[in-house]
Symmetry: C5
Subunit: 160 residues, 5 copies
Amino acid sequence: MASSVKGIAPKQVSGKNRRVVIVSARWNASIVGALVEGCRKTLLDAEVHPDNIVHVEVPGSFELPFAASRAIQSGSVDAVVCIGVLIKGETMHFEYIASAVSQGIMDLGLKSSVPVIFGVLTCLTEEQALARAGLTEKGHNHGVDWGLAALEMIAVSESL
Amino acid sequence: MASSVKGIAPKQVSGKNRRVVIVSARWNASIVGALVEGCRKTLLDAEVHPDNIVHVEVPGSFELPFAASRAIQSGSVDAVVCIGVLIKGETMHFEYIASAVSQGIMDLGLKSSVPVIFGVLTCLTEEQALARAGLTEKGHNHGVDWGLAALEMIAVSESL
Amino acid sequence: MASSVKGIAPKQVSGKNRRVVIVSARWNASIVGALVEGCRKTLLDAEVHPDNIVHVEVPGSFELPFAASRAIQSGSVDAVVCIGVLIKGETMHFEYIASAVSQGIMDLGLKSSVPVIFGVLTCLTEEQALARAGLTEKGHNHGVDWGLAALEMIAVSESL
Amino acid sequence: MASSVKGIAPKQVSGKNRRVVIVSARWNASIVGALVEGCRKTLLDAEVHPDNIVHVEVPGSFELPFAASRAIQSGSVDAVVCIGVLIKGETMHFEYIASAVSQGIMDLGLKSSVPVIFGVLTCLTEEQALARAGLTEKGHNHGVDWGLAALEMIAVSESL
Amino acid sequence: MASSVKGIAPKQVSGKNRRVVIVSARWNASIVGALVEGCRKTLLDAEVHPDNIVHVEVPGSFELPFAASRAIQSGSVDAVVCIGVLIKGETMHFEYIASAVSQGIMDLGLKSSVPVIFGVLTCLTEEQALARAGLTEKGHNHGVDWGLAALEMIAVSESL
């Protein structure tokens, strides 16, 4: 598996018998799609059973924490990965969505015992988003990192 | 139904037997009005019964989360759509209202099991707001997206 | 009663048998005083009994949410209006107070069933504050709006 | 006692039989020290018994809310004054500490019934901090205001 | 032990019979590593038994509060030190992670009775981070301060 180009040494943790929910937003669908696939492939490579990867779509990134919360309440999930792509536009929509979503995912993790991975790109340009989804020549698919992070955080959570 | 021009593929979900509360602020009334109508029409098109669309008005956007919270406490609502229009003015009012409202709606969704849609435009100019309410030539009425999002999130919530 | 010049159509709701607490900060006393009077007169005009308007002073705007919280805990209040005037100074005090107070009032409303009106001006100049307290020629006293908002939100809260 | 030069009329409230905890950070020790002394002297002048002024030191301003929380949990405190001095540096440390501390003190007050005074200077220069600690010629010691605010807020809290 | 060059007089508190969890992120590994070692050495110098220093790694700084929360839930920890290094990049990732992590650590401390030290550098350049990890000529290792802060806060917490 490709190592990250951004300075983090990935950690391989087995995904056997793990159940992971990927929640993704539909805005900027092609970029989100690549990130979801990167995450899913990473989970499969780590031996998560295909039936144990549940993919849930929501309209936009603002809905990610709510869906993650509902998935956790359902009781049969070891980790949630929230994937979205926010790109700065003309209004201040980007800023308020990004702030509320990042704090919402943080709060959700703190009040539950299930790790929730922050897989939301907050980019100033579309080019930045493409690069972070592995869709440019020198790009790297961050979905890979988020899949690894999910499995690692399950292990960390159990070790404590 | 018109598809969004902003990169999200709308998802059609039936609204049969759903009950949706629309809470809207009265500031910038003509723009909010168009957004509310766009949302309401979308819900009706999706077969939400007219009696099951409850419209509540509040003075300003700051009051949206409180009214949404009260609606959820009433127990007979499947989703809430909060609609408001904030436009940057001379003071810092815009920034603090927008920040508190976006975080408030996020928090409300996380502590309840009812999806609360963030339908608040945070614009730097009135022109931006008009375009996002479908009131300019190339504009698109985001109220349509919020109506669809409400129905989709009810379905997501039930599926988890 | 004067209508707002800022694009909101005021809504008249009877204040009979309502009990409203006004909490105000003492910083920028003359401006705050005008806002408190505007709010109080509006409540009286709407037939709130003078004995049912309780005015509590706190030192600064940071103390507004705490006093409002205590008022709500006392159990005999239908709405709280928090009134303060923050004006940008040399340090970053303005920004951190404004942010914490706006979020604090939002959180308080969400965790109680009593509406708490955000009557805090967050101005970059004293002139802006004077105008929003009706103390300049073309100014408008926002305290009027906050009084109306309090009564309207009580009605909204009861209707849900 | 000197009146504030910053537009607030101080309010004298007796401190008899009151118990106040002052929590202060050690960064920028000489400035913090002057603020703590200004606060303590004010409390003594208002007849708080010296044994009822408890002073707790913590390393930095980030630790203020935690120590205040622990003091409140101990059950024998009428008010807490959190005193710290943050000065803008090269990194973004100032911004994130100031934001988390101001929100933390706000949240703590809202979830307890004990007033917690925000006595944290958020300055862009050391000169600004010195002036607000009364250490420049025209400066004013804000610790005085915070001591008065603590006693006033105890009275406000009891009156509600 | 070297004293801080940044204006805080370190306070020596015995670490005997204390149990401290260090949670660190793997991004910017060499800088984080120096900070962790500075913290660990400080704890050992203060007579914390090596078996009572538990080191947990997480992928990135966003995961620090969750892991700290889990450590506290395990029940056998006197303090947690969260160590990470965030450096401003091209996107807004830095801002949203830093904000959510600082608020998350604050919230965690307030809802538990265990001190959680904020050991996250929020730097605009790599050079700034190196200096604060003691990896430049005039630098100072902040991990030392955080270790001291952990032991001091345990003592403060017990004294209240």
